[in-house]
Amino acid sequence: MVNEAVRSGRRWGNAPRRAIAMLALACLASCHSEPARESAARQVDSASPPIQPVASIKELMDSVVDPAADGLWGAVATISTTKGVERREPRTDEEWKAVRRHAISLIEGMNLAMMEGRHAAPSGSAPGPGESRPEEIDAAIAANRPEFNQFADLVRGRAIEALHAIDKKDPKALFNVGSKIDNACESCHVTFWYPNSPRPAT
């Protein structure tokens, strides 16, 4: 009986399996164009995500970039006072982790700085000593966007160097790249922010 059932199953069981397989193929064929459309739609979405710059570059610097850079710069130093010499550097895993967060913020802060449509400073805000007016900085960046992006890319690259130094827990390398970060920042500032400010006479 069992054998019969098995035999019967084998004989008649193939039909439902074929039907299921054909149904699956048909479904696959009929559904094939749908995922393709969805994929294309996703590509369109990813090509133009709904990004909208809200803060100015100056505010971005104040809120993200400068605290991050200060965090890297302040991590390693040698300070001589009347109380003795302090060699400041991250020593524990937690301290290194804290510095690493600053490197990440600086790296991604530069990506934010490069976003098109972000104004240099809030409209009508007063420039700092020696700085150009906000609309002058906007015009300078618009006139030479590739150079502006190049500077931001340079800072981002230096920040990535800092990240590598942090991951190696190498305070000397982190200190050395700190000056490079400063030079990269300053190159952009003297070009776009205060091009007419007299440089230090050496």
Partner: protein, 120 residues
Amino acid sequence: MRPILRRQLMLAGVLALATPAAAHHSFAMFDQTKLVQLKDVVVDRFEWSNPHSFVVAKDGATVYTLECSSPNLMIHQGWKYNTLQAGDRIAVSFYPLRNGKPGGMLKMVTLPNGKDISAW
């Protein structure tokens, strides 16, 4: 005190920065048409740090905070982390702050051994 806070207090108290990045500023705050010279001051603090090093020097009761370049550039002038130590007697020349506060951009130091060294 946290390092960053200490640094910010130092910068805020002396330089009153208002720039794209607080640690960065134009050079307009320094009067580069005037050069102040102090022949005998005592180093109270030497900070070998980024983005700028600082020398804090006492002349009697007056405390001057003097900003230098970044360490990587200063190395080319012969500076090291221990070029100055608290208590050293030195001579300095600097471009003063326009706001009249005791401080400025350090131009030249005469070290205790008589050697002149540029800070920029």
